[in-house]
């Protein structure tokens, strides 16, 4: 059973991302939204954790990334999706866990 996890908090000011990563199983997807998109950039400790997390798909909501001016800092291997893509992702997974 594949879970879709969403994280909406900055990894630098909250433990939410770490908690999510610790509980995400192989085959699941972690979608970064709102202030959670800061995890999707390069050059910091969180980027290393994402790089080392095998078997988990990472995605980021493009509109939230663009709003924060960080498109050029996006890490490799993180899929950018739009709102339609978000909807599709919800449908494609068995259930959604929103880490608040």
């Amino acid at each position: 059973m594949a879970l879709l996890h969403t994280v909406n908090k900055s990894p630098f000011e909250s433990n939410t991302f770490n908690t999510c990563l610790g509980l995400a199983k192989q085959g699941s997807t972690i979608l970064l939204i709102e202030d959670g998109v800061y995890a999707a950039t390069t050059g910091h400790s969180v980027a290393e954790k994402i790089k080392n997390a095998s078997g988990i798909t990472f995605a980021v909501l493009g509109p939230d990334l663009q709003a924060r001016g960080l498109e050029s800092k996006l890490a490799d291997d993180i899929k950018v999706i739009d709102y339609d893509g978000f909807v599709n992702m919800v449908v494609e997974h068995d259930s959604v866990q929103s880490w608040l």
């Binding site: 050059g43 910091h44 001016g69």
Partner: protein, 134 residues
């Protein structure tokens, strides 16, 4: 009325919460009172100053251009903590270039952003009369 040193501390990223926008509004209101105003950007607050912000797709106002107007309101001391930038994989080049015009120097444009270490930031905070936190 004597001039006091006002410091506004910015610790939240923009758009996810309303803190960053509210801080900016309060700074602009306060600028009308001719006080000695400084802004500090610490932790995720440094994200407020990134260049290239485009909020078209999230239906919120892009208030990042407003930072460029601060110089016109005599708000010309924006202290950015170096460690906070580094911990987030950012450099000064990722931030907007903010300037003010010095009327005592033939209106020369001067940098508003001062990159300071954590220790220097502690000294800046220590030097204030009033600190408002966002």
């Amino acid at each position: 009325m004597s001039v006091k040193k006002f410091m506004y501390i910015n610790r939240k990223p923009p758009y996810g919460t309303v803190y960053a926008l509210e801080a900016l509004e309060v700074v602009l209101i306060g600028a009308a009172f001719d006080q000695d105003v400084s802004l500090a950007f610490i932790g995720d607050g440094v994200y407020e100053l990134t260049k290239g912000q485009n909020t078209d797709a999230i239906g919120q106002k892009n208030f990042s251009p407003t930072y460029t107007a601060l110089g016109d309101y005599d708000v010309k001391k924006l202290y950015v903590e170096k460690e906070s930038l580094e911990e987030r994989g950012l450099t000064l080049d990722d931030l907007q270039h903010l300037v003010w015009e010095d009327e005592d120097d033939d209106w020369a444009e001067k940098d508003s952003i001062h990159l300071v270490s954590r220790a220097e930031m502690a000294d800046v905070l220590d030097d204030q009369d009033i600190i408002l936190s966002f």
